[in-house]
Structure formats: C-alpha cells, structure tokens
Amino acid sequence: MFKTVKALAKGLGTTFKALTEPRDTIAYPEKRREYAPRFRGKHMLAKDEDGHELCVGCGLCEAVCPANAIRVVAAEAEPGKPISWTDRYSVDYEVDLIRCIFCGMCEEACPTNAVRLTPFNELAAYSRLDMIADKEELLHPPVRK
C-alpha cells in the first residue's frame, strides 16, 4: 500500500516538475519557429530592380543538381520584349520538390544569383504533381530572400 503511494507520488512529482519547466515544442501553426538566415527551404527565382528576371536559363543548376530535380528550357526573347536582363531567358523552370534534397548546390552554381533557397519549408500537397514548382510559382514565393 505504502509502496504504491510512493510510486504514485514520484510519478506525479515528475509530471508537476515538468509543468513548470520551459517547453521544447511550439504551438504550430499559431506559433512558428525562427530559422537560421541560411536555412535552405523552397526555391525562388529572383528579379532585378527593373523587374527583369535574373535567370538566363543557362542550365548550370540543372547540371549541378545531384537529385536531377531541376529542368530548365531556355529561349530567346523577342526583340524589344526582354523577359530577363539579357535576350536569353528560361521559358521553363521546374523544381521537383519531392526529388529535391535541398542541398543548395543550384544556388551556389547560379552565375546570376537568380535561384535562391528561401527559409520557407511548408511543403505539402495532395498530389505529386503539385509538388513540382513551375516558374510562375518560383517567381512568386511566399517568403522572399
């Protein structure tokens, strides 16, 4: 009998002690965690101050990607209607976020600093197809960098 009470008290003691200690979890999604500034999350494609895309479709990110998650198709802009800062631009830019291992090599390889990995990491979708981020999606990221 005494033994049982002692064990109960010990257990509850642990519980009550933990109640007063600082918490390890956060109340997601009401509260969100702060990430390190160099956290590698979802990609974005940047534009310069004139609104021209920085990406010229050189394909180096595609070449360096160890997971083959990137597909780039370049094209020549119509004269007088530049899309990027030069006459070459990427007409298709797709990142397969399921394949991506968020290593950041694309960001490192990019000669124009166009592709950047933002801290945004809320990657979930109902279908695999929705996990392929196209150019439109990458140009309008939820978090900029």
């Binding site: 479709g57 780039v72 030069t86 000669p111």
Partner: protein, 759 residues
C-alpha cells in the same frame, strides 16, 4: 608536327588555330611548348618533330607561357558563358580552367564589338568571343575554296567578318560552327535551344543525299536539337553540307503525316492496318503472291528493307514483286562501285555528268582536297553543261543531251581500237563523231591509260553503264572504280537487304502494275510521282492497281490514288543501318521517339501480320555480317560479257519556241522539307542560259515560264544561270512545284512568257 605526335601518344597540347585538315598556321600561340636546345618556347603546331627532339608540354616555362596567352585572349572576352551556346563544350573555357591564370589583371573596360550578328541565315557571329584563330576563314577560303569570311582591321581591332559585307552563301558554311573552338560562330537554329550537358549525342548518318556523311544527332526531350559532323579517325573529317546540318527539322515539319488515313479520312492506325490486311489477303488468296508489289525508298534503314522482304516472302508468298524506288534510269553494277580510298589513290578523276557540288556536296569537298594535293593530275568533266568550277577546275567536255554514252563509247573506241569490248559498244555509232573529237580522244586516252582513275557518274543516261562495263573490260585487271553520285539514299543497303537494285526492276514492277498483273501495290517511303523518271508510267500504274498503300513521312504527290496512308518513323526515330556513297554500312541511332501515330516499319508489319491472323515477328538480322568493317563486298568483275552497242544519237534539233528539259539532282531542292533551310532553297527552280531567258522570259532576275507538251501545261519558276548552255532548261529532281519527270525530259514548247517576279 609536335601537336600531332603528342596527340598520338595521348598527351594534350592545347590548340585553337591548328586543325589537321587545314594545316599549320601558328596564329593563336596556344600550343607553346618547350623544346630543349631551343632558346624560347615554340609553337607545337608549326614545329615538325625531329629525331632526338626533347619536348616538354608542361613545366614552369610552358605553364607561364600558356597563362600569358590565355590572359591576353580573355582581355576583351565578354565572359558571358551563361548565355553562350558554346558554354560547356568551349575550348576557351576548358583551357582557361586547366591552364589559365587564377585571375586577370585587366581592369579597364572591354572593347565592344558585334554580338550575335548574322553572317548568313544560319550562322551568327559574336566578335567579342572570337580568339582570331582563323579556322573559319581558312576553312572557307582554302579548304572549300569560297573565301567568304575574312579578317578585317589591324591589331586589337582585328575581327572576323564576311567578305564584302555579303552574307556567306557557301553550302559548306555550317562547318565553321563545328570548327570554331570558342563561341564566336554559333548556329542560329540551335540558338539557346539546349546546353551540351542536357542533351544526348547519338552517332548517325545524314539521310539527305546519297553521300551519307557521319553525323552526331543530339536530342533533348524527344526533339532533335542539332546535327553536327562526326569525324572518324583516318577516314572522314566529319564535314557536312548545310543541307545535312540544318535540314533536321523535317521531322517536326507541319506537313508531316501523323495519323493514318483511309481514303483521305483520318482513322486509327489499327483500322488502317486491318483494311490493308483485308486487301492484301484478298489479292494474295485470289491472284497469288505475284499480284503483290512492294516498292521501298525514302528514309528506311537496311533492317526495314530486310523486314519488308521477309514479310513479303513469308506472309505474301514467294513470287512477290520487289523494287527500289529510283531517281535516275542508270544503275551502277556493284562490282564497279568505288570507295573513298580509290579517290585517295586516284591518278585521274573523271566526272560523268555528275556535278558533286549540287548533287553530293561533301564528295565535292573530297574531290577538291584531292585536287589541292595533286593539282597536276588529269581531271575531266563530261556533261551537258560545264562541270568545272573555280573550286574544282576540270577540263570540260560539253556534250549534247543524249550524246553522253555515244561520246564516251566513241572516246573509248578511239583509245582502245583493238579491244573487242570497245569495238562492240561503238559498233552502232557508224560515222558519228562527237562535237569535239580531239577532246574526246584525249579523254578516252585518260580513261584507258591511267593506272587508277576515279569516275563519278550521275546515273542520268542508262547507256553509260554499258560503256563503263566495256571500259572495265578494256582496262582488264586494273581497277575502274566508279562512285555513284545519284540516289536514292541507302540504295545499296536496300540491295543488301535483298531488294533487286536498278531502274529495270522498278520499271518492270510498274509496268506489271499498269498492265493489271499487280493488283496490290505498297509503297514504303518513296514518293514515286515526284522522283521516278517515268512519271507517266507511275501514274498509269497507280491508276490501274486495285489497292495502293503508302507509308512515309509526308503526303505523297498524287496521294489520292493511295487508299491508305500510314505514317512512318523518320530517320533518327528508328535505330538501324544505313549505306553510304562508297557502299559502307554505318549504324544510325534512334534519338527521339516517332511523333503521333508514326511507327517504324517493323511495328507496322507486325500489326499487319496480326490483322492477317498469321504469327510473324520481325527476325533479328545483323547486316554487318558478311561485310568488311561495314564495307559491302564487291563482286568479281564478270568475265567477257556481250555488250550491246550504243546507237548514234539523233541530230540535235530544237525549234525556236522550244527548250530542252534536263533533270538534275540538287540537294538543296530535293528531299524532305525544312523550315530552317527555307532561305537556302533556290530562288527559281529552273535554270536557263541568260540569253535563253532573255528570249523567253522578261525581267532580269527570273520569273515564270509555262511549258507545254501534248496539251498539258506546267508553270515553273525559271532564272538565268550563265553556266547552262543555250536552249537547255535544268530542273531539279523531286520538287513538286517543278515536276521535271511529269513534264518529261527532252524538248518542250514554251507556251507563253509571263512575268510574275523580276525587276
């Protein structure tokens, strides 16, 4: 040279200006090496190796020299590799990476020059990226003999630019893209399409003319991105003509057949195959296999032809009629078929009717190199127009149309009076003499007396075959190699697969079809109405056969006569084997998948067999077995044969309102349509002498002429060309807008001069 010796033992010496085919120049200074006992660094590309020479290709002095050269080259280089089409396969990138300085010291602003400026419809120049190696200048100026690019300016302002500011028009201009070691000369059609690392390269053979140049097809995401030359060590430099280099877009041409059609209506492929099987089964069961005819042509591989033959023999039955589509009436016996080695060793070159520059351009390039090496050898051109060019000087013997075989037979008989074969072929000539007997006699002497002549024949006049046979007989054991400058492409491959070669087989088949003996005619790939010399016979055959089936890439001319059209797989959409001009088999790769409902022949045949309810699968066959590293075996020269004699040609007669139509192969006019090559299509299909044009047409640059024969009229565009003799009208083979074989060769009346274009 030191660089060649180093390459032979696998040591890399960086080079820009040197190319083994172009010879040493020493312009770029990239190949500096250290030779012991020489005070300074020397250029490896201009220094011949010598006995006892000690060369250092690395070391502090060499590395410092290379770093200095690269630093100079990069002073005015824009460093725009991300947007440069050469990026990834650029020797400036590679060498800078390997041998270059860690950083440049030049901080001033760079010189700005022309960027992406077109030098022709196909090629863009970026003078900022140029390293002035002069490979392009020397290739066009020396190798091809058409100096259309040149260096302009002095010192730091030197640039490569088109000569006289006129666009580059050489048919070999595309080679400068391959030759350029940096990104200065790039292809307009390939601009920004892909990068070297995200496409796959497939070795293949060019399908656009009988030469069959080795090419590399690069493809990305099921699209052919570009075609490049594929050098084969010690055999081929990998030069291409622009037809082959830029003509690859035919596979995605809007007129391509992508769905099967039954009586003109699009139907599912299976329905079309069921219908074909019903017809085939009906004809076979009721009239026997002899009432079925198969004609092969177009862009089919050797394996395709083999499957067709096996299908015909096993499922239709023995006795089925086979033939290869032909564009000329002549046929070259396989035992006379020469090789490029024969050209290398030739001590005389005789062009018989063939103008390689137009018909088989890369052979022209080979003939020109032979001339550059041995300019003093006898070279003859026998044709209805002068065949010599500035880039390939010949002694011209111009004969009247129809007099080609007679002139050759006369020349042969003059040079070998006592030989029975020569006497036999010339027996029918009587007292006839060619227009220029002295020249003909000299030609006959060259034909008979030279040790190793090389002949190039255009196949236009079938009687020339008899003269060639007689010539071989006269020459006895000395070889008489002939290169056929005529199509169809892959013809020797079709023969290797078991189809009977030559125009005779095709004519017999068509005559049987026209007479009603053949009731089911399947045409695989060939556009008979457009390319077969006797278009009237084709018309009669197609009108008479009960069932005609067409398989191919583009709707055929007279297509309404074919009950079923089946879309076929094109070149680069099916792996297989292809034969080249010298009768060598070479593999072609499958680079992309066939679009739409297009299928390779073996799939179509398997589907037909299923519809016929007969088990049949295409059997594996290796065409390389029995060849000598791909070279098709040459039969022995037959022993003394009975040769027919050549009749004297009828006297030349042409009424004042008549033109004499001559068909001629032109690689830029014939073949699969290409949108990239549209600017290079001849402005006018027909060519006449300027005086003839002045007599019939109006306007200085050309226009339309209406030709009339036996009540039928055709309107073709015609332009003046000073190389054409008076009274003749040259029309290209295989062009729907100028159907030379429907008009028919020979005299034709000009109905009315009508000016449409000009001024």
């Amino acid at each position: 040279m030191i660089v060649d010796a180093a390459a032979k033992i696998g040591i890399e010496v960086p080079i820009y200006c040197y190319h083994p085919a172009l010879g040493p120049l020493g312009a770029c200074r990239m190949c500096l090496v250290q030779v012991e006992k020489m005070p300074k660094l020397v250029t490896g590309c201009t220094t011949p190796v010598a006995e006892g020479m000690v060369v250092h290709t690395r070391g502090p002095a060499v590395d410092k020299g290379r770093q200095g050269i690269l630093e100079f080259l990069l002073i005015n280089h824009p460093l725009d590799c991300p947007v440069c089409d050469k990026g990834g396969e650029c020797f400036l990138q590679d060498y800078t990476f390997r041998y270059g300085p860690p950083a440049g010291r030049f901080s001033e602003s760079k010189l700005e020059r022309a960027k992406d400026a077109p030098i022709s419809d196909f090629i863009l120049i970026d003078q900022e990226r140029c390293v002035l190696c002069q490979r392009c200048v020397r290739f066009l100026g020396e190798y091809a003999g058409e100096p259309q690019l040149m260096l302009k300016g002095r010192g730091v302002e030197t640039v490569v630019a088109p000569a006289d500011d006129r666009p580059v028009t050489s048919p070999f201009s595309g080679n400068v893209i391959d030759l350029c070691p940096v990104g200065a000369l790039t292809s307009a059609a390939y601009r920004f399409k892909a990068r070297p690392w995200n496409q796959v390269r497939y070795p293949s053979v060019c399908p656009h003319c009988p030469v069959g140049c080795p090419v590399t097809v690069t493809a990305r995401e099921e699209h052919v991105m570009r075609v490049e030359g594929r050098p084969i060590p010690d055999r081929d430099w990998g030069w291409l003509c622009d037809r082959g280099r830029f003509g690859y877009d035919f596979a995605v041409h809007p007129s391509r057949l992508l769905t099967a059609r039954l009586e003109g209506r699009p139907v599912p492929e299976a329905a079309a195959l069921r219908q074909v099987a019903r017809w085939l089964g009906e004809v076979r069961d009721r009239y026997g296999a002899g009432a079925v005819g198969f004609v092969v042509g177009g862009q089919h591989t050797v394996e395709d032809a083999y499957h067709l033959r096996r299908f015909a023999e096993t499922l239709v039955g023995p006795g089925v009629q086979l033939a290869i589509s032909q564009r000329v009436r002549g046929y070259l016996p396989p035992w006379l078929h020469g090789t490029y080695d024969d050209l290398e060793a030739a001590d005389a070159v005789i062009l018989i009717g063939a103008d390689p520059y137009r018909a088989v351009p890369v052979l022209h390039l080979k003939l020109r190199q032979h001339w550059r090496r041995k300019p003093a050898l006898p070279r003859w051109g026998v044709g209805v127009r002068p065949l010599g060019r500035e880039t390939l000087p010949l002694r011209d013997l111009v004969v009247r149309p129809q007099a080609m075989a007679a002139t050759l037979a006369w020349a042969l008989q003059r040079a070998a009076k006592d030989h029975p074969a020569a006497r036999a072929v010339a027996a029918g000539l009587g007292a006839w003499e060619p227009e220029d007997p002295a020249a003909a006699e000299a030609l006959g002497h060259v034909l008979v007396a030279s040790e190793r002549p090389l002949l190039v024949w255009d196949g236009h006049d079938p009687e020339v075959e008899t003269v060639l046979r007689a010539l071989a007989s006269v020459r006895g054991d000395r070889p008489t190699p002939v290169l056929p400058g005529f199509g169809p492409e892959n013809a020797r491959g079709f023969e290797w697969a078991g189809f009977p070669g030559g125009y005779e087989a095709l004519r017999r088949l068509l005559e049987q079809a026209a007479s009603g003996a053949i009731r089911f005619l399947a045409v695989w790939g060939a556009d008979l109405m457009r390319e077969v010399p006797d278009a009237g016979l084709v018309e009669a055959a197609l009108a008479r056969v009960e069932y005609a089936v067409f398989e191919g890439l583009f709707p055929p001319q007279g297509g309404e006569r074919f009950g079923v059209w089946l879309p076929g797989a094109a070149w680069a959409e099916e792996a297989g084997t292809w034969s080249t001009l010298e009768g060598r088999l070479s593999p072609v790769a499958e680079a992309v998948a066939p679009p739409g409902d297009a299928r390779p022949v073996r799939s179509i045949l398997a589907g037909l067999a299923r519809a016929l309810k007969r088990p049949w699968t295409p059997e594996a066959w290796d065409p390389m077995v029995g060849t000598e590293a791909g070279l098709l075996p040459r039969p022995q020269r037959p022993e003394a044969e009975d040769l027919p004699s050549i009749a004297a040609p009828p006297p030349w007669r042409l009424a004042g309102d008549q033109l004499y139509v001559v068909a001629e192969a032109d690689v830029f006019a014939q073949g699969a349509p290409s949108e990239i090559l549209a600017p290079r299509r001849p402005a006018f299909w027909g060519r006449v002498h300027p005086e003839t044009w002045a007599a019939f047409g109006s306007g200085p640059s050309g226009g339309r002429l209406t030709l009339e024969r036996e009540g039928r009229r055709w309107t073709v565009s015609v332009g003046p060309d000073p190389t054409v003799p008076r009274g003749l009208l040259f029309l290209p083979i295989g062009v729907a807008e100028a159907p030379v074989y429907q008009i028919g060769e020979g005299p034709v009346t000009v109905a009315q001069p009508l000016e449409v274009r000009g001024g």
